[in-house]
């Protein structure tokens, strides 16, 4: 094997961009926090904390999706992703960081009794409300805080364990026995994460963090919908980093064959997301029961109508039409463009999921949203780049690496 560059060096320009984004975003964040977040006006409080909430939840779930990708690939003994697995690992190091921010924000919202974000926090209202009374075993501050803390802590811990075992493939060549036990131990560790992921991201966490904003309303599709949204955005993020790092002259072993498979994930899960979007929408539209249609009322017929349909165009029509062709999935420029579009689209999706319920009268998309987005993107760029630079880019003694090098679609 010809020599390959194993050590990623952070390009100066990337650092500048990251610091600039963190700077501008940080200013916007602080400005918003002091003018709106701590203001006396409840409307402005809800605006700020809601905006911060959907951003931090979005980025936590998206970075966690990178961990999910690693774990299910390991569980399936997939080999094709080994040549760029360090990219996904680097993205997943953000889970503890964004997770802590999420935890702080949610603690503030719950302990600060922000009734206008989580209506079920209002004990007096709940006592008079038979529906909320029925949900009190699940929707109460104690359970919320314990489960949220546990979820974020265990995602971070299992993620750390997965990254740790991956480092074993850097040091020494493995003989058959070592490789076999390495494989089995990797699968066991990913199994723990996958089970916990199923109990949290694929079910309870979206109910607690997002669906309980509309405390009376429920949808059985909601968690899957949130999961699909964050997973397809996570794959787009992995694609973007793979393309960027490859563009800088690294990742010699990753080529159009690997990109093709990543883009297939982006294409397939865009359609999976639409399937869930439609399943949720059609049943509610068909049954036409007031307590269910309340969720779609101000989204389909109110001020959120343009965003609601823009969401469908960006996240369904665009990937369907543009990523359908084989040649498109193998084109680095086009996949990079689609990855940015999909990330933006699902950010908008999270925006309408949260703010569509909190700010029913008007669309608030503005400097605060983009400022906070910039802050999170800046942190993401900086920390992923640092994590990439801190370890070899390719696990060179990984038992499946050869299979990844000769991967062909």
């Amino acid at each position: 094997m010809a020599s390959i560059k194993e050590q990623f060096e952070i390009p100066g320009k990337l650092k500048t961009w990251a610091y600039a984004l963190i700077g501008i975003g940080g200013v916007a964040l602080l400005l918003g926090m002091f003018t709106q977040g701590f203001s006396k006006d409840e409307h402005e409080q809800v605006h700020f904390w809601g905006t911060l909430m959907y951003n931090t939840i979005f980025w936590t779930l998206v970075t966690n999706a990178a961990m999910f990708f690693l774990c299910f690939s390991t569980m399936a003994q997939a080999a094709w992703m080994q040549s760029f697995r360090r990219i996904a690992e680097a993205i997943s190091t953000l889970v503890p960081v964004f997770g802590s921010i999420t935890l702080l924000v949610l603690l503030y919202v719950v302990l600060g009794e922000k009734h206008h974000i989580y209506h079920w926090l209002d004990a007096e209202a709940v006592a008079k409300d038979p529906i909320l009374k029925g949900k009190v075993g699940f929707l109460n501050p104690t359970f919320f805080i314990i489960w949220t803390t546990l979820a974020i802590a265990l995602w971070s811990y299992f993620g750390y364990r997965m990254r740790q075992i991956s480092r074993e493939a850097d040091e020494n060549p493995m003989d058959a026995e070592t490789a076999k036990s390495f494989n089995i131990r990797s699968m066991t560790r990913s199994g723990f994460f996958l089970v916990w992921f199923g109990l949290t991201v694929a079910s309870t966490i979206p109910w607690l963090w997002l669906m309980s904003i509309d405390a009376h309303w429920y949808s059985t599709m909601y968690s899957w919908y949130t999961f699909a949204s964050s997973f397809v955005a996570g794959m787009a993020l992995i694609a973007l980093w793979v393309i960027y790092v490859k563009n800088k002259g690294y990742l010699e072993l990753t080529n159009a064959e690997h990109l093709h498979d990543i883009a297939k994930f982006m294409f397939a899960f865009s359609i999976f997301w639409t399937y869930l979007w439609f399943s949720q929408y059609m049943l509610i539209w068909y049954a036409n029961i007031p307590e269910e249609t309340v969720y779609f009322k101000h989204r389909v017929q109110g001020p959120y109508k343009p965003i609601f349909f823009l969401n469908l165009v960006i996240n369904f029509l665009a990937p369907l039409i543009i990523l359908m062709k084989r040649s498109a999935k193998r084109n680095f420029t086009l996949v990079a463009f689609m990855a940015i579009l999909i990330l933006f689209g699902h950010w908008i999706d999270f925006y309408q999921m949260v703010m569509g319920s909190l700010m029913k009268e008007h669309v608030t998309l503005g400097w605060l949203d983009f400022g906070i987005l910039g802050f999170f993107v800046g942190v993401l760029i900086l920390m992923v780049a640092r994590s990439l630079a801190s370890k070899p880019l390719v696990p060179k003694y990984h038992p499946f690496l050869k299979e990844s090098i000769i991967h062909q679609v």
Binding site: F278, Y281, M282, W285, Y286, N288, M324, R326, Q408
Partner: protein, 194 residues
């Protein structure tokens, strides 16, 4: 029904097959096909075969299905026989999407299977000549069609020098026919030389 002359080379290993394919193509011969017991990664590429158009056909069938479904349902429910179903509008797009989707899939799937059968000339009762019985078992069988310029003996020697374990020249029916192998073999296939 046309009988043609073929040079057949059999290989027992992929590792030998790939360089041989390259050598035969560099020598200027056009390989008709390589019959393998299992799908071999990269062989179509090595043979210089054109990318299949089956997916383009599949896309067209799918679009046809979508169009058929939309036009049929919208005509039936708005023009031909409008019914009031649960107070919904006659043009009730969300309710139709599952049917539109199903018809798209049905047209694409059935159409692609039919096209695949046609491209590969497969149907009940259709027979084609087998160049070697072990092509479905453990041999990689390379078949080169002879033209007037081809010196079959030279080609046989080339194949043998590139690792073919068995070579021969066959005059065989290149198209398909209806019937059975037993009755037609004498007319359609004769081993010329060893």
């Amino acid at each position: 029904m046309a009988q043609k002359k073929f040079v057949v080379g059999c290989f027992d290993d992929e590792k030998v097959l790939f360089p041989a394919v390259k050598q035969v193509r560099t020598a200027g011969y056009k390989i008709k096909d390589v019959y393998t017991p299992f799908p071999v990664h990269g062989l179509d590429h090595a043979l210089g075969m054109r990318e299949t158009s089956l997916h383009t056909a599949g896309f067209i069938y799918g679009i046809t299905g979508t169009t058929t479904a939309i036009s049929a349902i919208s005509w039936i429910f708005t023009k031909d026989w409008p019914l009031n179903i649960g107070g919904k509008p006659h043009f009730a797009l969300p309710a139709w999407i599952p049917i539109i989707f199903e018809l798209t899939v049905l047209f694409a799937a059935v159409g692609m299977v039919m096209t695949f059968m046609w491209l590969c000339q497969m149907a009940p009762g259709v027979k084609k000549h087998h160049f070697h019985k072990r092509a479905t078992d453990d041999l990689f069988v390379m078949v080169i069609e002879c033209t007037e310029k081809t010196n079959a003996e030279d080609l046989k020697a080339l194949l043998a020098s590139n690792g073919a374990v068995e070579t021969d020249i066959q005059v065989a029916e290149e198209d398909w026919w209806f019937g059975t192998y037993d009755n037609d073999n004498e007319n359609l296939y004769k081993q010329v030389a060893h």
